[in-house]
């Protein structure tokens, strides 16, 4: 048989090669057909998307490979795995090994007995000893977390430079138009969807305190400075939040109010009238071994929250170099508000290996969950019914948290939330 095959004029080698090519062609045909079918399902006759469109990132083969993986499902599975209770006697060696690999400084951890942490998720969300992170008293802005400063700079033309000249727009990151209320109970629409996306002059309503006349002036309502600083019953009366623990503390309201009041004066003293201020940005990356709770970087007021369900990719420095607009693909929570110099936004961006984002003063927020995906799909459907385009996020306002400040007041260094496994 061997002799017969060797002497045959038939080139047997071509057969498996041909079969392989045929198989690849069939797979490609199947993928193209499936994509086309999905596209037709997504679009109605007038071209308005009927479902929440899936984001298809562009990039090299590594990114394409990642985009084909079920990252959300993997992330949730990873989260469940990390919530499994570790056997008591394996906890200390396990956490020490983790600390060795990822550079955790165990001397700073508030709870020295590592047996206390039942699983990696609890250890990941550890607290630190009081006083190990002193706040710079002279800084206008402090780091909100432990990490590495990846990028910072001034925003030109609405674009944020990512790495190596890759850019994305502020609108894509923060969202532009406020959606019509549809998802959360505290969601509301208002007419300031573009607010904060471009430099702007402060309006009269935002001049919180006129120091010389000693009253606060918010949305046409006047308050005396002692009222503002005391943060008394006047503020609680106007809150409709059931859970009072998410309210800003009176101390926060007083300090932030005073800071905003002082800022108004200082602001115009040092700047020219024609172009007084610009938009700046900073990106801080938290590695797996870092302390994963985040804090307020300054005295400011959070007015609204926007949750982008995103597609949950990694935010590793490698991908940031590789994938354009990476941050706008990830699940993220955009907190919009103001500080003494005007607009201020704070955007925690999630990652597959981390999981969910927690905001301490927002008990309604659910990230990295199937519920979130369902809610986003529902919002997309409702937007389609109204003949509007889906904005890509759900929105909630904190305006009832403090009537005087019109939002949730946060002091410099105050813990805001964190990144949790799972």
């Amino acid at each position: 048989l061997r002799t017969a095959l060797n002497n045959s004029k038939i080139q047997w080698f071509h057969i498996p090669v041909g079969l392989g090519i045929g198989f690849l062609g069939a797979v490609q045909f199947y993928r193209v057909s499936k994509r086309e079918k999905e596209r037709q399902e997504l679009e109605s006759e007038d071209g308005v998307p009927q479902k929440r469109p899936r984001v298809r990132p562009e990039g090299p083969w590594q990114v394409q490979l990642m985009s084909s993986l079920p990252l959300k499902a993997l992330s949730r599975l990873w989260g469940k795995f990390n919530e499994l209770t570790i056997p008591y006697y394996l906890r200390v060696p396990g956490f020490k090994l983790y600390s060795f690999i990822f550079g955790v400084n165990l001397d700073e951890v508030a709870e020295p007995d590592l047996h206390v942490y039942p699983n990696l998720a609890a250890f990941f969300y550890r607290t630190l000893k009081p006083g190990v992170r002193p706040l710079d008293p002279n800084a206008a802005l402090i780091s909100p977390a432990d990490g590495r400063v990846l990028q910072f700079g001034q925003i030109e033309g609405g674009n944020i430079e990512q790495v190596k000249g890759l850019t994305y727009t502020v609108d894509a990151l923060l969202g532009q138009q406020s959606p019509t209320p549809s998802i959360t109970g505290s969601t509301s629409s208002d007419d300031e969807g573009n607010r904060g996306t471009v430099p702007r002059e402060l309006t009269d309503q935002e001049e919180l305190v006129r120091k010389d006349e000693e009253f606060a002036h918010v949305n046409g309502i006047k308050y005396t400075l002692p009222d503002l600083l005391a943060g008394g019953s006047k503020f609680k009366k106007h809150s409709d939040l059931e859970d009072q623990s998410v309210k800003p503390s009176a101390a926060s309201v007083a300090q932030v109010g005073a800071d905003l009041a002082l800022g108004e004066k200082a602001w115009y003293d040092i700047l020219s009238e024609d172009r007084p201020h610009r938009l700046y940005y900073a990106v801080v990356y938290l590695a797996p071994g870092d302390y994963h709770r985040f804090h307020s970087p300054t005295n400011w007021v959070v007015e609204k929250r926007r949750h982008f369900a995103g597609e949950l990719f990694s935010v590793s420095p490698y991908l940031q170099r590789t994938l354009p607009g990476l941050f706008t693909l990830n699940e993220r929570v955009v907190l919009l508000g103001r500080w003494r110099y005007g607009f201020f936004s704070y955007v925690p961006v999630g990652a597959t290996n981390v999981g969910s984002i927690k905001i301490n003063f927002d008990r309604e927020l659910r990230t990295n969950s199937l519920t979130t995906d369902t809610a986003a799909d529902k919002a997309a459907e409702e937007a389609q019914k109204r003949g509007e385009q889906y904005t890509g996020f759900s929105e909630a306002t904190y305006e009832n948290a403090s009537l005087v400040l019109g939002g949730h007041a946060l002091r410099t260094g105050e813990e805001m939330g964190g990144f949790q496994l799972g």
Binding site: A140, P144, R148, V149, I155, R278, Y281, G342, V349, F419
Partner: protein, 43 residues
Amino acid sequence: STIVLVFEAPVGATDPETKQHKGWRWAVDKGQRIKMGQAIGYV
């Protein structure tokens, strides 16, 4: 995980007469390790 801050601040500039810097001034470098509470910038 990543935190992106986008904010408005006074334009940073140095007064040619007094040589005094006014407005926004960064206190970090690209790639720098930073701890919570350390300064990112001054006004």
